[in-house]
Amino acid sequence: MINMLLLIPVALLLGGLGIGAFMWTLHSNQYDDLDGAAHRILLDDDLEEMGDDR
């Protein structure tokens, strides 16, 4: 019984964190350009900023 009283709130908390994170991504427009996001990962523009000129 103690396990259950502990685990149910934990499950709800984790689920709540998940839904909170989702709402945040939605709110910060992260789903506006899904095609672009898929392609941007291929760019190495971050290498210059890090001073790595490989």
Partner: protein, 746 residues
């Protein structure tokens, strides 16, 4: 405007899109927004398709002085730029066109984000419903698993109360979409599909709460939120499909806000928004510009490309005193014109009104899902009421049991499978067509396409590529073509573009002059090169070929050489029309071009019914005639003159090379040089329709079995949950079958 010196280097580096002809026309000054010291501009960019494009465009613009933020949205083709300092917006658009992309200023206020507030609400509701469903199911499974009273009453009550604490706020939040829609319907004195849904959710919640508080054994919290979860998936898919069409229409409006160059009284030239043009304004048209309003030329002479307005394939010479129709493109020389009408009175505005009228016609189409919903609502309410009355009066089972069984009927017949049946199939079909380069703008367009009995084709640009192609390249010495290409690179004329198409990028001639209606001349490596009509190049008239478009090239004192050009057919044009014929779908051609070329193309592709030299109004009349005869008509066209027919036809398709207005009026836009996508789209639409019907049949069968069980009081919360998720899953899996390529004859 920046000319492209090296064609190979321009445009998408992965060759996913051809470099755009840098047609000018819009001056971005009027679209810059100032916020403090920051200037902002939104542009629609054409031809950006890959990560290389992002790097090229964003990287290129970042090199301009003062630029702080550049962000290209690859999904929508919108580019946002913010900068400080005195950078002029023309420098930005010139930079983009020098990279090989076409850009048009875009007014983001015309496409406000808030328009998708409903979509965001749906997805937030969906997330909440999903979260609640998963967590309540966790608790419900425990209750269901203890069949022989292993779980004590206190534990069960606790489980039910925790479920209630999750379910009630979640359902009240996630169900708002349905509650408000049902309330609106009830206030208007009607009932829609959302009424039984709202009733089922609210009654199930209320009843389960009562049970939980009175140590009852059965609670429907999981069913109530799961119901919302499945229904919201269907709603969201449906919204996504519809939103696409709305976005396309809004983009057209935003893009139409193009600018024109007005010649002021003192002779200076001023950029203005076309909707501010007044009758009597003097306007300057550079080569490559589109005529913004109907008007008359008062200075200059030039050749005009009228293909998009009238369907005429050859350029037409216009001079002082001639009228210009809005939408045609100036090809060779700067022109000065007087505006004879405002934008609202011009052809394009007329077309926009027709497009609007067409959309009203289309909205009258009753979708198969709506038909099902109309039958569904009264049946469910009657069954539920009968169940309650039957248990209460006939079986005298008491209020609690009677109510519980009535609620079970409402829950189990709830249209989860019904709500998913259509959108799930249509979104899979749309994704499938997208992979084949066909963009579907509305879900119900697939339904409409599957019913057609007749196809109307436009000629120029639809059956043909609308581009001239050099026919006798093999007969002409290479060096002559090389020199001709040096001249051709400086011109917008279709024949010049056709030569460049063959020869690619390279050097440009010197002292080039273009004489409208005759030809052009210039110096290449010290030699005078002339391209043009027979008399311009000094050839005997007798030698000129009659049918094909011919041009002569003369280099220095060498004898002139003839070049033959022809508008080429789209690949598989004949095969596609033949396939439709086999399925008893008749094709015909409606063209604005002269009869001779229309007849020739008609014979080539095997179409016996064709009409030439039609005005847009005559095209509409022919469409209405065919429709009066009971035909369901698909229109395939690309020009402004086709736009009203595209809008009024039962369903319409247009190639990716079509005019913006035509693309926005069409339900389908297909890419590439082949006509086969028309056939592919039809095939997939037929398959999608049969999958939708299967889904409805399954949903009906499910209800025929489940509803009597619920009425008989045999449905427990466990069975309700299994039945609901099972039926939704089967419908979705059936939709996914459509994504498998293969068997159909493509």
């Amino acid at each position: 405007m920046v000319e492209l010196n090296n064609i190979d280097d321009a445009g998408c580096p992965s060759n996913l899109a051809p470099p755009e002809k840098s047609v000018s026309g819009a001056n971005p000054d009027a679209f810059v927004r100032h916020k403090g010291g920051l200037s902002e501009l939104d542009l629609a960019v054409y031809g950006a398709k890959c990560s290389g494009c992002i790097a090229k465009i964003e990287g290129g613009i970042k090199t301009l002085p003062g630029v702080e933020t550049v962000r290209l949205n690859l999904s929508t083709g919108k580019l946002y730029i913010a900068w400080r300092g005195g950078l002029s917006p023309q420098e930005i658009t010139e930079k983009i066109s020098s990279l090989g992309y076409r850009s048009v200023p875009y007014d983001p206020s015309a496409a406000e984000k808030e328009n998708d507030a409903y979509g965001r609400k749906l997805i937030r509701s969906l997330a909440v419903a999903g979260f609640a469903t998963a967590n309540i199911m966790l608790l419900s499974v425990a209750v269901w698993a203890s069949t022989n009273g292993e779980m004590g009453q206190a534990t069960r009550d606790f489980m039910h109360l925790v479920s209630a604490i999750i379910a009630i706020p979640a359902a009240l939040y996630a169900g708002q979409v349905f509650f408000s829609s049902a309330w609106r319907a009830l206030k208007a004195g009607g009932a829609n599909m959302d009424v039984p849904i709202s009733l089922a959710v609210l009654l199930a919640l209320g009843f389960s709460l009562f049970e939980a508080l009175h140590h009852g054994t059965e609670a429907y919290f999981d069913a109530a939120v799961m119901l919302l979860f499945f229904l919201l998936i269907g709603r969201w898919l449906d919204h996504k499909l519809r939103n696409k069409a709305r976005t396309a229409a809004r983009d057209l409006l935003a893009l139409q806000a193009v600018t024109a160059n007005r010649i002021e009284a003192d002779g200076s030239i001023h950029s203005m928004v076309t909707k501010d043009i007044k009758v009597g304004d003097k306007l300057l048209l550079s080569p490559g510009d589109r005529v913004p309003v109907n008007g008359e030329i008062f200075e200059g002479i030039s050749e005009m490309d009228t293909a998009l307005v009238t369907g005429e394939s050859a350029p037409i010479l216009r001079q002082v005193g001639d009228t210009l129709e809005a939408g045609i493109v100036n090809l060779s020389k700067p022109l000065k014109m007087v505006a004879m009408a405002t934008v609202d009175e011009s052809l394009i505005a007329e077309l926009a009104r027709m497009v609007e009228a067409g959309q009203q016609v289309k909205s009258r189409y009753v979708r198969i899902a709506d038909k099902a919903a109309q039958a569904y609502v009264p049946i469910v309410h009657t069954l539920s009421l009968l169940t309650f009355l039957g248990w209460f009066f006939v079986a005298e089972a008491g209020m609690r049991v009677s109510l519980m069984n009535a609620i079970a009927v409402l829950i189990i017949t709830c249209p989860c499978a019904l709500g998913l049946a259509t959108p799930a199939v249509q979104i899979v079909a749309t994704g499938r067509l997208f992979k084949d380069g066909i963009l579907v703008k509305t879900g119900d367009a697939l339904e409409r396409l599957s019913h057609i009995t007749k196809i109307i084709f436009d000629k120029t640009g639809t059956l043909t590529l609308g581009k001239l192609k050099l026919q006798n390249k093999a007969d002409i010495p290479q060096d002559i073509l090389q020199k001709a290409a040096c001249l051709a690179r400086t011109s917008h004329h279709p024949i010049a573009r056709a030569i460049v198409e063959e020869m690619g990028g390279g050097p440009v001639s010197k002292e080039t002059t273009e004489i409208p209606g005759a030809g052009m001349q210039g110096f290449v490596e010290g030699e005078l090169v002339k391209i043009g009509h027979a008399d311009f190049v000094a050839v005997d008239k007798a030698d000129t070929a009659n049918d094909k478009v011919s041009t002569w090239v003369k280099i220095g004192d060498q004898p002139p050489v003839a070049l033959f050009f022809e508008d080429t057919l789209r690949q598989e044009a004949g095969a596609t029309i033949e396939k439709f014929k086999q399925h008893h779908i008749k094709s015909l051609i409606l063209s604005g071009d002269r009869p001779a070329p229309v007849q020739k193309i008609a014979q080539k592709v095997g179409i016996s019914e064709f009409y030439a030299q039609l005005t847009p109004q005559e095209k509409i009349d022919l469409l209405e005639q065919a429709r009066a005869a009971g035909d369901k008509i698909a229109m395939v066209g690309d020009g402004l003159n086709d736009t009203p027919v595209l809008a009024l036809a039962d369903v319409s398709l247009s190639p990716g090379s079509a005019a913006d207005a035509a693309q926005s009026a069409a339900d389908f836009v297909f890419q590439g040089n082949s006509l086969k996508p028309v056939w592919t789209a039809w095939q997939i639409s037929r398959k999608a329709q049969s999958h939708i019907k299967q889904n409805f049949m399954f949903a009906a069968l499910y209800n025929v079995i489940a509803a009597p069980m619920a009425m008989a009081g045999m449905v427990t919360p466990l069975i309700a949950a299994l039945a609901m998720s099972g039926s939704s899953l089967i419908v979705t899996l059936n939709a996914l079958r459509l994504s498998q390529r293969g068997k159909e004859e493509l």
